[in-house]
């Protein structure tokens, strides 16, 4: 689903990524590990162009999104992202956090389609019988979009057992609750892949479990996930591929069993000896 070809990124002439090549298939759960400063977070942030790559390409569903000309917003809808510091919208309630993007974007599409229909119906008067463009039936209105988004949001909240927090503001929640809501916020967009940028690094130890549990559930449902993490246990048990990034390149990429039991790269051996 995502093909990364020779991805490069430099910040003010400091090279962070020096040519990363990796293919992520549908249903893959890829754990990305590496020492700090190795470029693993930058790699993840390049995948949805949060950082614009300096070179190479990222083919997402057949489109090179590293190209500055593509409408990146359109593609980001299909790529969820979960941050280390949750980044829930502080001025919105939990429910609004989840509903905001789906409602806003669907309403925007609706308006665009209505505009397009209007233009087409006017132009059709002048077009020949064969050249007439189709008028797309509009089946939803704004209220329906809102109602459906709300239903979906409540279902997602029930799933993580936080439906009574729907009208609370993020400042009243614990770290674990915030991160789980951040995860279902990206789920509400029905993404094809979710990128996790060290989702448990800012959590108190006792809250790491609940977040990992939710991620395990998503993995079991077949969600494609790319996870930058320091949780070796998670990488071992849940991922079907583990990638070791160091000095801006992929030093090793293997199944978790091989990766942890039979590491080849000397830097990886060194790294694993320190963290395990």
């Amino acid at each position: 689903m995502i093909d990364v070809v020779n991805l490069r990124k430099s910040f003010n002439k400091v090279d962070v990524l020096n040519g990363i090549n990796v293919t992520i298939n549908k249903g893959d759960i890829v754990a990305v590990i590496g020492p700090s400063g190795s470029g693993k977070s930058t790699f993840l942030r390049c995948l949805n162009c949060m950082e614009d790559p300096t070179g190479g390409s990222i083919i997402f569903k057949g489109v090179d999104i590293a190209d500055m000309k593509v409408d990146i917003n359109e593609h980001r809808r299909h790529m969820g992202m979960v941050f280390q510091h949750f980044n829930l919208f502080n001025n919105k309630t939990v429910l609004q956090n989840i509903m905001l993007a789906p409602v806003h974007l669907q309403c925007k599409d609706l308006k665009k389609q209505m505009r397009q229909n209007l233009i087409n119906s006017i132009l059709n008067m002048f077009r020949g019988e064969k050249n007439k463009k189709e008028i797309v039936q509009i089946t939803k209105n704004k209220e329906q979009i809102k109602r459906e988004a709300k239903e979906q949001a409540m279902t997602l909240l029930k799933r993580i057992g936080l439906e009574e927090k729907a009208n609370a503001y993020p400042s009243t929640l614990s770290g674990g609750q915030k991160q789980r809501i951040a995860i279902i916020r990206s789920l509400a967009m029905n993404p094809d892949v979710i990128l996790f940028d060290e989702p448990t690094s800012a959590l108190d130890p006792e809250m790491v479990g609940e977040v990992l549990e939710l991620m395990r559930e998503l993995a079991a449902e077949g969600m494609t996930m790319v996870v930058v993490t320091h949780e070796m246990g998670f990488a071992k048990e849940v991922a079907n591929r583990v990638i070791f990034i160091d000095e801006g390149v992929i030093k090793e990429s293997n199944s978790p069993k091989e990766f942890f039991e039979n590491p080849q790269d000397p830097r990886l051996k060194d790294f694993l000896a320190k963290v395990l």
């Binding site: 917003n73 980001r76 941050f83 993007a101 503001y169 951040a182």
Partner: protein
């Protein structure tokens, strides 16, 4: 202090019997109109400029816009309000042949001037919001503009409300220069009452009192607004 009583009597006579009150009311109305409309225009201009100035700068268009905005801010912060008023009223508008009343010119100059200041206040406010908020908005597919409008600016406004209060208060007080282009404002009204009787003490004291009351009312309103905006901070 018999003298003082007489001064008050003179003031009261002029105020109530010789049309002083009408003049003061007109002045109050002009002062408030100029300050409030100027502030609203300033907020609109300031928000737009602040947004332009925090745009990512690797494309050409944002850079050009940014340069224009920097120039605008430098111009309006670099010259006194009186000079701007005089230039607009006596130089700029006659040259381009625009016919505007002196009150309209004052509103425009106050709007443009406070726009320059508010843009900097707003930019500080926007930069004080965690960059993660913008990232989170962009990550779910919202555009820069939408994220700005729905997520970042509401949080920025909450942070800068006290400073905005300052700006409004400064604006109200600065209206006292609009008589330079012939607007009857509070200062002008009381000054003419004073000139009628060559007795300035009481009119000036009353004028000071009115300004203070205005500013106190504004401070109170700002405090109320701050409290209502803080609802997302409170634990419920």
């Amino acid at each position: 202090m018999g003298n003082f009583e007489k001064k008050i009597e003179t003031f009261i006579t002029i105020f109530f019997e010789q049309g002083g009150s009408a003049k003061v009311l007109e002045g109050l109305e002009n002062t408030l109109t100029i300050a409030i409309t100027g502030l609203i225009i300033g907020i609109l201009i300031g928000t737009v400029i602040a947004t332009i100035r925090v745009l990512p700068k690797y494309k050409l268009l944002p850079r050009i816009l940014n340069a224009i905005c920097s120039f605008y801010v430098a111009m309006f912060r670099g010259t006194p309000m009186v000079v701007q008023l005089l230039v607009f009223y006596y130089v700029l508008f006659p040259i381009i042949g625009l016919k505007m009343t002196s009150v309209q010119v004052a509103i425009m100059v106050f709007g443009l001037n406070s726009g320059a200041y508010i843009s900097e206040i707003m930019r500080g406010g926007i930069q004080s919001v965690d960059p993660g908020q913008m990232e989170a908005g962009r990550a779910v597919g919202l555009s820069f503009g939408t994220t700005m409008m729905k997520i970042v600016i509401p949080q920025a406004v909450k942070n800068i409300l006290p400073t905005m209060g300052n700006e409004f208060i400064a604006l109200i007080k600065e209206t006292s220069v609009v008589s330079f282009v012939g607007v009857t404002d509070l200062y002008f009204a009381f000054n003419s009452i004073g000139s009628n009787s060559y007795e300035f003490m009481v009119p000036y004291l009353v004028m000071a009192a009115i300004y203070i009351v205005l500013v106190l009312i504004i401070s109170l309103l700002i405090k109320l607004m701050e409290r209502s905006l803080q609802k997302s901070d409170r634990r419920s």
